[in-house]
Symmetry: C2
Subunit: 203 residues, 2 copies
DNA sequence: CGAAGTTACGTACCCCGGGTATGCCCGTCA
DNA sequence: TGACGGGCATACCCGGGGTACGTAACTTCG
C-alpha cells in the first residue's frame, strides 16, 4: 500500500480528480454563474490547484461544457423514464412537459442550461449538445405521437424547437414565482394548451 | 469658435460622446458578444478612452444594458407600428409574430437580446426591461385580442411569456438556417399554429 | 528490481481587462 | 475674468484565464 489514503492507481487518481472538479464546477457554476466563477475557485473547492484543472480540461469553457453535458444527460434520462411509463405517446408528451417544468426548479439546471449555457458555449454548440439529449427525447416523442395519429403533421423539427423554447421560458417563470408549487398548474395548463395546438382533435 | 471642429457646448460634447460609445458598443457587443468585448475596444472605436466610458456609464454591464434597452425600444416601436396597421387585433398578433421573426435576422439583435442579455444582465433584469418594451406590446396585443373575443381566457401573463419564448427560439433557428428567407414561412406557420392554440375558433 | 518513460499534478509567471484615482482642460456662470 | 464643475485622459491596481516548467508518483520494460 502507498502512504496516501485514497487513489492508488493512476486511473483512479485521475477519475477522482475529474469527478471532484466536475462536482465543484457544477456547484459553483450553478450558484454563481459562468462569469463570476474562477478556475481557481473550482479547483480549490475540489481540493486541487489550477494545474489539475488544466490537465483534465482544455479551459474554462471546456469545464463548463462538461457540466452542461452532465445536466443534459440527467434531464434526458429523467424524461425518458417518464415517457416510458406513460400509457400512450400523447400522454408521454404531456407528462414530459410537466416533468421538464419541475426539473426547472433546480437552480443549477436553470443557471447552467437555461441562462449561461447559450452565452458561454454559443448557440450552435448548445443546440448540438441538446440535440443529442433533451431535444432528442422531445423530438422522438413528437415523431411517435405523429406516427400514432395524435399529432398533426408539419415541420416537426421546428415545432420541437418552438415548444422547447416555450418550456424553457415557462421554467424560468416558474422559478421566479414566489410559490412555484402554486404557479405550476397554471403554467402547465398554458404549456398544455400550446402543446394542444399540435394535436389532432380525435384522440 | 473653438479649435475643435465638433461639439462646442458641454451638453453637445456629452451627447456626442455618449452616442458614439453607444454606437460602438452596439457594434462590438453585437458582433463579438459581451464577454470578448472590452471597454477599451468600445472606447477606442468611439474615438475616446476608457475614462470617458466610465464617466458616462457605471461599468461594462451598464453600457451593455444601455445597448439592450436601445434594441428593445427599436423592436417594440416596430411591433407597435405593425400592430397599428393591422385590420383587427388577431391579425395584429399574427403580423407581430412574423415581424419579430424577421427582426431576428439582425445579428446584433440576436446576440445582444437573445443570447447574451440574460447571462450578462440576469434574467430578472432582462425581463423587467422587456416588460416595459417587447412584452408590453405583446401583452397589450393579447389583452386586446381577448377583449375582442378572439383569444381564449386564461393566464395571459404566462401565455405571453411562453409565446415569447417560442418566438425567440424560432428567431435563433431562423438565423441558423442557411437560407432564412426560405425557412421563414415554415417557422411562421409553426409559430402561427402555436398562436392558434390560444384562439377562439369563431373569428 | 531498477531505470527509463509517462502521467498527474503543483508552482510561478505572463498579460489582458475591469475598475479606480487623479489631474488637466475647457465650458459655464457669477 | 476668475472660480467652479463637468468631460475626459492617463496611470495604476488587481483578479483571473492561460502557459511553462518542475516534480513526484505510477507504469512499463529490460
Amino acid at each position: 500500500m502507498s502512504r496516501r489514503s485514497p487513489a492508488r492507481t493512476q486511473a483512479e487518481r485521475s477519475d477522482a480528480t475529474t469527478s471532484a472538479l466536475l462536482a465543484a464546477a457544477r456547484e459553483l457554476f450553478g450558484r454563481d454563474g459562468y462569469g463570476p466563477t474562477s478556475i481557481d475557485a473550482v479547483a480549490s473547492a475540489a481540493g486541487v490547484t489550477k494545474g489539475a484543472a488544466y490537465h483534465h480540461f482544455r479551459g474554462k469553457a471546456d469545464l463548463f461544457r462538461a457540466v452542461f453535458v452532465r445536466e443534459q444527460e440527467e434531464i434526458s434520462a429523467r424524461l425518458e423514464r417518464v415517457a416510458a411509463g406513460a400509457p400512450d405517446t400523447w400522454t408521454a408528451l404531456e407528462r414530459g412537459a410537466r416533468t421538464f417544468l419541475e426539473h426547472c426548479l433546480d437552480p443549477t439546471f436553470r443557471r447552467v442550461v437555461l441562462l449561461d449555457g447559450p452565452a458561454a458555449l454559443g448557440w450552435e454548440t448548445v443546440r448540438e449538445i441538446e440535440y443529442a439529449h433533451v431535444l432528442r427525447v422531445l423530438s422522438a416523442g413528437m415523431r411517435a405521437a405523429r406516427d400514432d395519429g395524435h399529432m398533426a403533421d408539419g415541420d416537426l423539427e421546428a415545432r420541437c424547437q418552438l415548444v422547447f423554447g416555450a418550456l424553457c421560458e415557462a421554467g424560468m417563470l416558474l422559478a421566479r414565482s414566489p410559490d412555484p408549487a402554486r404557479a405550476l398548474p397554471s403554467l402547465t395548463a398554458e404549456a398544455g394548451r400550446l402543446l394542444g395546438a399540435t394535436a389532432i382533435p380525435g384522440a
